[in-house]
Structures are given as C-alpha cells and as structure tokens.
Symmetry: C2
Subunit: 132 residues, 2 copies
DNA sequence: ACGAATGTACGACGAATATCGTAATTGCAA
DNA sequence: TTGCAATTACGATATTCGTCGTACATTCGT
C-alpha cells in the first residue's frame, strides 16, 4: 500500500517536487522555465536532476512526443508530514506545539485564518467530548 | 544590531546547535558524549564539526583549561524562525497556515495544548481590536 | 619533572550533490 | 526524406559534507 517509507530529497529536489505538485505533470522544459524565474541554472542541470530523481523513484515519467512527462511520486501531503516531523525533532525538541506557535507568531495570521484555526479547535474539542 | 543575517547549517550542525541551546555552553567532549547516545561517530568528527562551525560563526568559543567551551551564536528562536520560513516557502507554497494545520493534524494536541492555542488566539483578537 | 591522558589542529578521503559540456537521438516541417 | 531544432543521454568536474587518522599541545598526577 505504501510504495515508499521515507522520502529523502535534497533542497533542489524539493523545489522540483514542489513545482510538480503545484502544476501537475510537466516536461523538463516546463520545470526548468519555472525554476529559471528565480534561480539561475542551465537546462541540462535541471534535466540531470530530474533524471536522478527518476532513478531514485521520486519521479515517474512517460514518453510524450520527443520529450518526457514527469510526475511526482510521493504526495505533497506525505512529504510535508515527514519534513515537519524532521524539523520538530531536530530543533523544536520534539514539541509540535512549539512549531505551531512559532509559525503563528511569525506569520501574523489574518482574521480569516484565526477563524480557521478556531473552527478547527472547536471541532477537536467536540471530538474529545463526543468520543473517547 | 544583527551579527548574522541568515543561518546556514547542515543537519549535523543543527544537532550540535540544538545540544548547545538545550544544555548551554559545552566542551567538545560534552557535546560528543550527548551525541553519542543516539548516534555513532568518532570524537574527532565532532571536534572538526565544531571547529568548522566556529569558522562559520555559528559557535563562539573560549579557552577553559586545556579545552574550549563552545557557545551557540544564533539564538534558537531565530534559527527556528528561519527554518520554519524555509519549509513554508519550499513545500507549503508560502502558506504558514497550511504548516500549522499539518503540524496540528499530525500531532493530536492534548486538551492543555488546545487551550494554549485558544488563549493565544484570544490574545491575537484583542490585539486586533485594541490597536491597529 | 615527566609521562600518560586528554585535547586540539590539520589534512585527507569517500560519498553525495550540483553543475555543465558534448554527443547521440528523436520528431517534425519543408 | 532529409535536415534542423529540441530533447535526452552520458560522462566530467567542482563543491560540500561527514568522517577519521595522525601529529602536536597541554594539563595533571605522582
């Protein structure tokens, strides 16, 4: 059911995964052009990177015309979970709450976002009284 | 006012910083012994690492007897902020809230923790109505 | 005062990563 | 069908990171 236990990706690889997660399946050219907007690297660099990621089972690919269409294999949600956990373990001494506070503090949440959390909290509380 | 704009530390370095943050100034031996509890590496490895970190201005040091006492230069809080921001940018598409939700979802907060957040939220709301 | 123990300094090495040049391949348009 | 432009394949190189061996320095107990 799980083709992959843990995701091991470098920062550069994360960037590419993020593009794929956001834009759906892409060719190397598309990914590269997006990357090039805020980063400076040659086309073959991106190509090589994606080839390696394909070997590492981070990307699947399918021929399409003369090029390849690449797709992210790990889900964004799964990767997020793992990375968040790693951050918590490494510098938040294992406390997820501290991370939450940090993120909230940094961010100056908008009213709408505060409402979102509140709603979430209320729902959690309901869960607690209803069951368990 | 700020001796350091951005903190660039590898995972291994983060581990060491975390020890220093938690235990306060330490000698190489102390850090190494703590690391050795859940990791396997030689003493000189830790030493070298901390020397490099000293060059990189991640650690300051002070002679103490025959050894050196090392201290983390960046504050834990600052490092947390930067890392959280980087995570948000790289895989949460810039949305701090998504990270918060992910962390909350992962973690199954306790009642006490929920109260903490709620209190925090109320305070935020007060801020919003009082000032600004 | 001297030798063992404990530290530090320094350089080297392997693996992984990032980057790119160049060659081979492929699809398509004329 | 043939040539060109785009794409892929395949190393080669540079850099960084983690690791450690070994040499040098210092302290302390006796």
């Amino acid at each position: 059911m799980k083709q992959q236990e843990t995701i091991k990706a470098t920062d550069a690889e994360l960037e590419i995964l993020n593009i794929l997660w956001t834009h759906g399946p892409c060719t190397v050219r598309q990914v590269h052009d997006l990357l090039a907007q805020h980063k400076d690297a040659g086309y073959t660099t991106t190509l090589k990177q994606m080839q390696v990621m394909h070997e590492k089972q981070l990307l699947s690919r399918e021929a399409q015309g003369k090029s390849h269409l690449y797709t992210a294999i790990p889900s964004r949600h799964m990767a997020q979970g793992q990375i968040v956990q790693r951050v918590i373990d490494s510098i938040f001494n294992g406390s997820a709450m501290q991370l939450v506070m940090q993120a909230l503090g940094n961010h100056k949440p908008s009213q709408k976002e505060l409402d979102m959390i509140e709603e979430y909290l209320n729902q959690k509380k309901d869960d607690m009284t209803t069951s368990k």
